[in-house]
Amino acid sequence: MRQSFNKYWIVCFLILLGVNQEVIAQLGQDTILYKETTLSRPLNVHKGQLRIIGGYSMKTNTRYYDDSGNTEELSELGISSIEHNFLFGLNYGIIEYLQFTAGIIWNRHGQRGQNLFLVSGVDPSLDVSTFDEYNGSEDLYLGLDFRLPLKTRKLDWLFSVGLTLPTAENGDSQPEHSYGDIDEYSNSTKVVYHYVHNYGYGTNTVIPAMSLKYRISKFGITGYLSYRHPLGESAADAWSYQLDDNNEFIYENAEYSYQKSWTFNYSIIAEYQALSMLNGFINYHSGKSYGGWTTETGKKIADPEVVLNELLLGIELVVTPKFWIRQSIGFPLGGTNSFAPFSLNTGLSYNFFPFSK
């Protein structure tokens, strides 16, 4: 009897050991993520943690802030536009307080100008459209983020230094103008001036940044500051064009130099952890660009100063401890020489420990 009892417990112990081992194997380092909320998680990822981020933003530009900050209604002129931004990024925790960050943004935006119907007295008349296409990726961003090893969990302080590499095309590509056939109904010829612009800086830029977050109970407030500085001048092609005898546009290019503006951004984000899986936030964001110049016209001309102030309201849902969805709506508050976009933003984050044992 005693011998049977011992064997019974040995078998049960072995079964439970197997179950226990499976549970431990399933939890691993991921348990860190199970314990964290949006509010409580640190500003950087943990050691060994990989965060993959995907984002999409759609901006509707129905208004424009002019040089004096006055609002122009683009929709009434029929020249409102839609801008699509796609983000891909990742963070990896090298040590508990240091993460590596990489990111790239791809954009698409088509901006129409006001149509011109030109009657010159010589048939046919000209129906002229102007269209500016912005399409392609921005420069690749690489950076390191260091969080101060503070003992308190109320305060997080993160310093970043990043670099963008000139991976994207810069300046303008060759235009795609067209001269159409005669429209018999209006006795006019359609001419489309189609300009193609790129997002690259054409040079390296350095981006120092800082984030400071303070938590009180279910509330948190975060301040963010960044500055982007181009490391030198860039060169691009200026395009001139004319019609040949076959009504085909022919183009010539000439190199010119320019320097992109310095960019200064700051945000103040207030958040509330309503439920363990639901966080609501309000974000005041301001961006300013200045100091750029170009010699495209043959003279060195300063770029206009661009300012945009926005308010974003949003939520973050922790769908699973590894997978989060972040959504926000952005409203323009003011600015100069900038579109005033209404934006819908969605971000997805997936987190795991790829090399955990």
């Binding site: 019974y8 079964i15 002129l77 409102s80 839609i82 088509g110 006001q114 296409e133």
Partner: protein, 322 residues
């Protein structure tokens, strides 16, 4: 030792038999099922109310060669479509429904007329807006075959849309100033067959549908003095979806849709500039099931097409099960 082995061997049998036991849900829990687990039609005596909002703009299109192009003209058009939805379960297999739309659309255009020789310069503006009750749809959905663990459900849906909305432009001052209509002026019949299979936490669907328009008459141009007879082309749609639970209360639906539209007829004939169109659309939807409240967010992304718009459509739906 034999007893020990018998006990150990019986443990999996007991666990398996326990896992196979059907979970009995309370009525309140039945009303909180996700789009994955709920029956295809509303249960007998249950009512589902909803509100939906759709937003789309005209920015790009697929040309006749299937190339995605921007509209070069400076026209800006946007459409908000709001829907009040109600569904009621007559039996566990038959559901009745009504969709009441409210439509708000706008169209802006401007052009500079310049004739330097005649010393003439003018800016012309089109500011055309319109809103109001759209065309109401009523219909039914019937489960021809109910779902079991070994077979999918087969559902037949039919909706009739009545021309309840204003079909002609109103408040016409001139060709650039008038109110857009919110209705189409046509009666349509929409029929659809759907197959659905649940393999929790996943579900799969396949559907095929056709919409036939019976035609009508309306002012095709605001400056027309008489209505013209017309008939919209028939629409065929074929779709399939793969859906899964991200957690207990969030579902991601992935739908792929093929849509084909025949050309419209005006005064009994197809105009020279009317062509058939087709598109393939990817429609990811995210469903949040908050007890009886369901919120659905989706974006329709047009992948390929011909002679049709290429802009995404956004919609959000809120549904509540009474």
């Amino acid at each position: 030792m034999k007893k020990v082995l018998i006990i150990v061997l019986l443990i999996p049998v007991w666990l398996n038999s326990k896992a196979q036991t059907d979970e009995q849900l309370l009525p309140a829990q039945l009303k909180q099922q996700t789009v994955i687990t709920e029956p295809v039609t509303v249960r007998k005596g249950y009512t589902r109310l909803g509100f939906a909002a759709y937003y789309s703009v005209i920015d790009r299109w697929f040309d006749e060669d299937g190339k995605r192009e921007y509209f070069p003209e400076n026209t800006w058009a946007s459409l908000w479509n709001f829907l009040l939805l109600a569904q009621y379960g007559i039996t566990d297999r038959l559901q009745l429904g009504i969709d009441i739309p409210f439509r708000s659309s706008s169209l802006y255009q401007s052009i500079i007329l310049d004739a330097p020789g005649a010393d003439y310069y003018e800016e012309l503006f089109w500011k055309v807006k319109g809103s109001g009750l759209g065309d109401i749809s009523i219909g039914a959905k019937y489960q021809i075959i109910t779902e079991t663990p070994s077979r999918p459900s087969l559902v037949f849906t039919t909706y009739v849309t009545l021309p309840t909305g204003q079909k002609n432009p109103t408040d016409i001052e001139d060709e650039r100033n008038y109110k857009l209509p919110a209705g189409s002026g046509e009666t349509t019949l929409d029929v659809d067959l759907l197959l659905r299979k649940i393999n929790f936490p996943y579900s799969y669907t396949f559907n095929i549908g056709y919409l036939h328009s019976f035609g009508g008459s309306r002012l095709l141009d605001p400056m027309d003095t008489e209505e013209t007879e017309y008939q919209s082309g028939g629409n065929l749609d074929i779709g399939a979806s793969y859906n899964f639970n991200l957690n207990e209360w969030i579902v991601l639906q992935n739908e792929l849709m093929y849509f084909r539209s025949a050309p419209d007829k005006i005064a009994g004939a197809i105009p020279e500039d009317e062509f058939s169109s087709w598109s393939v659309q990817y429609l990811p939807k995210i469903n949040f099931q908050l007890k009886r409240l369901r919120i659905v967010q989706a974006v329709g992304i047009l992948l390929v097409g011909r002679n049709t718009g290429a802009d995404p459509t956004y919609f959000i739906v809120a549904q509540y099960m009474l």
